[in-house]
């Protein structure tokens, strides 16, 4: 059995070492959160397209029944976490920094917890594509917080074989301990889940990375790997935030640096969270879709701990489990480095929610007023992506977004290391988020403007062509009427007229060449009706 110590580890530049505060929540075993009075299931719970609802208001649901179908490949299904009745399908506050409403299915539990028919998935009997599709329909997404649909990560790049599958048990965010507890208590299921990923990706090695502040989890995982007889390597990595970010962990374990312009399989590596592996195994072994997850509840509470929580549990009911202290001012979703304040506690726990922290001003003192940047360079040293945050800050603040892009603001993972070390206490992450969302909006705008311009050119070309063709028809008709009463001379004149019209049309066509191969089709469509009442087919695209 290869031990973690034998493996050569790499370092990523930057990173910080905040107090971990993990002990508070990792002392008690994972509890089972009680059934809430109401479950709210946003249909958009993964990266990619929003799931389309497939139930109706008033319908009775069984536990594990699908309520939203994946829409396309980069999308994932959503399921009923318990049996009960659909009481509404409407916009509800989201578990998002904005708190903006999002289409959700509201379920009133009947308390019976009647399961739908569950059947284990025989992976060996199915083709890889069928397994991927099944995972998509089971709603399995990355539970590290990014909620990228897992099935979409289970295809190797065409050009490169996968060398390493990295199982991410680093859990670098302070306060958080859900992955820690999961590995301690359910190590074998996590390892079996990893074996599903291995079977689909066929890597040379499977590396399980765990930070050295979780020795118990590492021991449990080693035992599980040994017990199951897999050749996975459990690698203990130094505790350093953000080792748990996929790219940083890949760097530490394999030495590979994945730029934002490439996907990790192209470099022969893919990374999954331990929670994802666990839920994938639950689905394959028991036929249970993703309807619950382990959520850490910690911070300014009487009893911190981890709870196996149904997706859709409203935050207000969930946080009550920890009995928040009276001076709690706000609740954060995610860790203290990358998390955000939950604007509305009626929003539900979602698949992306790994941790809820009760925050008070004694736990997280409000920052002093922002001072000017003194270019000390501490942020650049702390940045794990080796960016120059102080320069990005300058350009973001001045809204010189093209300059920020030039300085690779797209590479920023918003890990917060820069703001953590900043002596001027500048909310750098906030500036970068602002700049990035503006840049994103502008890119979208530009794409739309380009598409619009193309449409306008198409329309112009079509109009001119129609005009030319009309002129042609009129000319032909005129010749016909004159030709009926005339002899050979009239015939010649007719021919000349037609030729002239054809020539005119040709010239016009050349002056405005169609920009899009679809244009001829749309012209045909328009031709069939005398009036251009029916628009070209691409209007409905």
């Amino acid at each position: 059995m290869p031990s973690g110590l034998s493996r050569r580890l790499f370092r990523f530049k930057g990173g910080v070492e905040p107090d971990t505060h993990k002990a508070e929540s990792s002392l008690t075993p994972i509890g089972k959160a009680p059934l809430p009075s109401r479950l709210i299931l946003p249909l958009h719970q993964s990266v990619g397209a929003c799931a389309t609802p497939c139930v109706r208001v008033g319908e009775t649901l069984l536990k594990g029944q699908r309520i939203g179908n994946a829409d396309g490949w980069i999308s994932a299904a959503v399921h009923a976490p318990t049996s009960g009745k659909v009481v509404a399908i409407e916009d509800r506050p989201s578990a998002h920094a904005s708190g903006l409403p999002t289409l959700s299915v509201v379920i009133e539990p009947d308390g019976l917890e009647t399961w739908v028919e569950r059947a284990p998935l025989d992976v060996t009997a199915r083709s890889p594509d069928e397994v991927r599709k099944a995972l998509r329909d089971a709603g399995i997404v990355g539970l590290g917080g990014a909620v990228f649909p897992t099935h979409a990560k289970l295809t190797a790049a065409k050009s490169t074989a996968i060398d390493e599958v990295v199982i991410n048990g680093a859990e670098c965010e302070p306060f958080m301990s859900c992955d820690d507890l999961l590995m301690r208590e359910r190590a074998e299921d996590v390892v079996r889940g990893a074996s599903i990923f291995r079977d689909l990706l066929e890597p040379k090695r499977v590396l399980i990375g765990i930070e050295d502040n979780k020795p118990e989890a590492a021991r449990a995982m080693r035992r599980a790997v040994e017990a199951l007889g897999f050749d996975f390597e459990v690698v203990v990595v130094p505790t350093r935030y953000p080792t748990g970010a996929a790219k940083q962990l890949i760097r530490v374990l394999t030495g590979k640096e994945i730029p934002s312009t490439r996907r990790s399989p192209e470099m022969g590596v893919q990374c999954f969270n331990v929670g994802t592996a666990y839920s994938a195994w639950r689905f394959v072994a028991l036929g249970e879709p993703l309807i619950s997850r382990v959520v850490t509840l910690t911070g300014n509470v009487e009893s911190a701990g981890n709870w196996e929580t149904l997706i859709g549990t409203p935050f207000e009911e969930f946080v009550a489990l920890g009995r928040p202290k009276p001076d709690t001012e706000r609740f954060l979703m995610g860790g203290p480095m990358m998390g955000f304040e939950i604007p509305d506690l009626s929003a539900p726990v979602v698949k992306a929610c790994n941790c809820v922290i009760a925050a008070s001003s004694s736990l997280f003192p409000p920052p002093p007023p922002e001072m000017p940047c003194i270019r000390c360079g501490a942020c650049a040293e702390a940045c794990p992506h080796e960016l120059l945050p102080f320069e990005l800050y300058r350009f973001s603040r001045a809204q010189k977004f093209d300059k920020a892009v030039e300085l690779s603001i797209d590479e920023c993972i918003e890990c917060g290391c820069c703001a953590y070390v900043c002596p001027s206490r500048i909310p750098l992450v906030q500036y970068f988020r602002f700049a990035k969302s503006e840049i994103d909006a502008r890119r979208k705008e530009k794409a739309k403007a380009d598409a619009t311009r193309a449409r306008i050119e198409q329309r112009k070309a079509r109009e001119e062509r129609l005009k030319a063709e009309k002129a042609e028809r009129l000319a032909a008709a005129a010749v016909k009427t004159s030709g009926a009463g005339g002899g050979d001379g009239a015939d010649a004149a007719k021919k000349a007229l037609i030729e002239a019209a054809v020539e005119r049309a040709r010239l016009q066509r050349e002056a405005h060449p169609p920009k899009n191969p679809e244009t001829p089709a749309s012209v045909e469509a328009a031709e069939k009706t005398p009036d251009p009442a029916v628009n070209p087919g691409d209007a409905t695209r």
Binding site: Y431, F434, S437, R442, E445, I456, A533
Partner: protein, 185 residues
Amino acid sequence: MENTDNVFIAVAVMTLGAAFLGAALGWASERFRVEGNPIIDQIERALPQTQCGQCGYPGCRGYAEAIADGAPINLCPPGGEAGARKLADLLGREIPTTGVAEKPPQFAVIDENRCIGCTLCIQACPVDAIVGAAKQLHTVVGSICTGCALCTAPCPVECIGMKTIPETLDNWKWKSPVFQIRRVA
């Protein structure tokens, strides 16, 4: 005598220097000459392509040509402040002090109860964003609509209204901390 020599040498050096630099400039202007007038294309690309004509010129292309001829750069409401700044950067001009006409992004909505299916709006739409047929209900494809409002005037039953695009999770943006600080202060 020595003095006049010095003066002579100085004048000669300066003259030669000027001649050399002049020649270099002349050569560079030939060598790196930019063909055509791509500035109009660049301006057009900086415009939002709503083709709404609110600037008073025929479409975005028309406005781009007008700007190249010296028209003010603050006449485009869909582009707003940001668009004017883009033009100002591109052209090295100042944004006129009269401010920029601004309008939140909108899209057209057809009232389905009133539409008579006359196809007039379909003909007016410069981007083919309205679908429908004669005597059939028309509808606007929201994702294509540029919010130019050119379809509202031709409608004989005034069933087309303009709506502001609502803020959703997809288009929500983080705000700049600069403004937060100002608000608190």
